[in-house]
């Protein structure tokens, strides 16, 4: 194997042989492109109302139909991709930036620090699912930005646990002992030798986490606790469409399909990456 390929090239090579992971990669890439290029792709302004044409069923001119204010649903879903992607990225960013150091310190130093961090993690995990996000939203107020913070907060314990576990096993390895023997301090050992080796599980976790962040954001939007109308957020759109379920089910159906597709993409890619990065874990 050429040197340029390295472990990442190898991983990509393995990924190519999994149809599921490949499908996930295609969906995720498509989603990111749609989010980035949204203004170029939308047939109409997602905020522009056409009252005379409200609730119109899908047609050649408005492929996914029109909502209660006559807005083009396709344009709104395409714009919604931006919101979902930003929520996913911000939430995962919060989770990684807080969870990885917490887990690393907890696993590396052990003792009282570990005990303390693990109890905090236990406490956070005692709030099932989106409950902690609900608490955060009720404190900080309803809205898109608090939803991002809330979902990010909820993802911290998973990173802390994951990184702690990796660090615990890595710190007993010979290369760490070697680094210590040549006089490296704790910070250098942790930062330069141990953490880079935690990258793979963190990457897998983040991929899966973006999917679940998209799902949680939509859930908060649906409950009226996330993005507020007229923001074209998928969960918010779906919630509005519920009032018209009998007469215009397309208002509800299509945003849901968008959410499912994106979450499915991240799940497939995450599972595939896990198998490709660590063939031993393959079920």
């Amino acid at each position: 194997m050429s040197r340029a390929e390295g472990p990442w090239g190898e991983t990509l090579g393995r990924l190519r042989h999994q149809p599921g992971a490949l499908a996930g990669l295609v969906i995720v890439t498509g989603f990111v492109l749609v989010a980035l290029l949204a203004p170029l792709l939308t047939p109409e302004d997602p905020f522009k109302s056409h009252f005379a044409r409200s609730l119109e069923a899908p047609s050649r001119e408005a492929v996914l139909g029109r909502d209660e204010l006559g807005r083009d649903i396709l344009s709104r879903i395409v714009h919604g991709a931006r919101i979902s992607l930003s929520i996913g990225v911000v939430a995962v960013g919060i989770g990684v930036m807080a969870g990885v150091p917490l887990g690393a310190i907890s696993g590396y130093f052990g003792g009282r620090v570990d005990l303390l961090v693990q109890r905090v993690v236990d406490i956070m995990l005692a709030f099932p699912g989106i409950l902690l996000a609900l608490v955060t939203v009720s404190v900080l107020g309803v809205g898109l930005y608090t939803a991002m913070i809330a979902i990010g907060l909820v993802s911290i314990p998973a990173y802390a646990r994951l990184v702690r576990g990796s660090v615990l096993s890595l710190k007993e390895r010979e290369f760490v002992a070697a680094a210590r023997a040549i006089g490296h301090g704790d910070a250098a050992i942790l930062g330069q030798h141990i953490l880079p080796n935690c990258l793979a599980p963190v990457l897998v976790q983040s991929t899966l986490q973006i999917g679940s962040a998209v799902l949680s954001a939509a859930a908060l939007g649906f409950l009226g606790l996330g993005a507020q109308p007229p923001t074209p957020e998928w969960g918010t759109m779906l919630s509005k469409g519920r009032d018209f379920l009998r007469v215009a089910p397309h208002l509800t159906a299509f945003p849901g399909v968008a959410i499912m597709l994106v979450v499915l993409g991240f799940n497939l890619l995450g599972d595939g990456l896990r198998d490709a990065l660590d063939p031993r874990l393959k079920a």
Binding site: I130, V135, S138, F222, I259, M260
Partner: protein
């Protein structure tokens, strides 16, 4: 064993304290003046001061927390600012409905999930396996509220077979239970399949077959018993997923449970109710996890807390 149970119980104490502290602290963390926010923007100064006093917000934090815990132990969680009824009464009215829904969903998830997992594992890489795993993948990716609305659309609006909302009859329980249980069924199906495949490779399976046992007996008696041990733990975690999913499912089906209560209370800024309902849900989850962990240590004597 006794040592493990003791350690597990001791570890629950800081969690209980931490959870109650977060619930206690949330009102104090509201940006601005919590008393003003709770009393409402139009409230007079007298009202704001009355709220401050009734919540004890004028006392030192440590005093406030001890009072909070003391009241909690007496079952006093304050008064709803919306209905003016004691929070404990609100919860007592709603909580049984959520438990009813959660248990029904758990039943759906176990029957469908474990069933699909067995079918998939015993027909590995053939179409029933592929189909159930594809469905399972869809199940974990699907927003629970969207599934609920689509089921209403199909079974209530189009076919007219089942009532779309409300609680009371068994027919009204079907759609919410299926909706809430679907994601957990998907996870249980994947767990059961991989657990069973693992066990099926073991030597004692070959022995069981070699001594002439019929295949259903081999699977049922020897394989499942071992494969289902990890599934028990997952079911405990799934209980949490269900409790949190109930928030969404109850909203979709206008189910008068505690999840719906939380959302209504957040939107109305009815903090005592938010606190009480979230606390009750978290405590239920902690309790279920404790029971599951202890159960697990009985089922699998190899498990010990390090």
């Amino acid at each position: 064993m006794a040592h493990y149970i003791f350690r597990r119980l001791v570890l629950t104490v800081p969690v209980l304290l931490g959870v109650t502290f977060i619930i206690f602290a949330m009102v104090r963390l509201i940006p601005g003046d919590p008393a003003q926010v709770i009393a409402g923007e139009q409230a007079t100064r007298e009202t704001v001061e009355a709220v401050r006093k009734s919540l004890g917000l004028d006392q030192p934090i440590a005093v406030q927390y001890v009072r909070f815990l003391r009241d909690l132990l007496r079952g006093d969680m304050g008064t709803s600012t919306r209905s003016l009824r004691p929070v404990a009464r609100e919860l007592a009215d709603r909580f049984p409905h959520t438990i009813e829904l959660t248990l029904a969903a758990m039943l759906v998830a176990s029957v469908v999930g474990i069933g699909a997992g067995i079918i998939a594992a015993t027909r590995q890489n053939r179409w029933p396996d592929t189909l159930s795993m594809l469905l399972a993948l869809g199940g974990v990716s699907m927003p629970v509220f969207w599934l609920g609305l689509m089921l209403i659309l199909l079974f209530s609006v189009k076919l007219g077979w089942l009532p779309p909302v409300g609680r009371g009859s068994l027919a009204q329980l079907v759609l919410p239970a299926v909706t809430l249980g679907a994601a957990s069924a998907a996870i249980l199906a994947r767990m059961t399949r991989s657990g069973l495949l693992e066990v099926l490779r073991q030597e004692f399976m070959t022995t069981a077959r070699a001594k002439g046992l019929a295949e259903p007996l081999v699977i049922g008696k020897h394989a499942l018993k071992n494969a289902l041990i990890p599934v028990v733990t997952v079911m405990g975690l799934q209980f949490g997923t269900l409790l949190s999913g109930a928030v969404l499912t109850e909203t979709v089906f206008a189910w008068p449970g505690i999840g719906r209560l939380i959302v209504e209370a957040i939107l109305a800024r009815d903090y005592p109710v938010v606190q009480g309902a979230v606390l009750l849900t978290a405590l239920t989850f902690v309790f279920v996890n404790l029971v599951v962990d202890l159960l697990y240590s009985v089922l699998d004597p190899r498990i010990r807390y390090e």
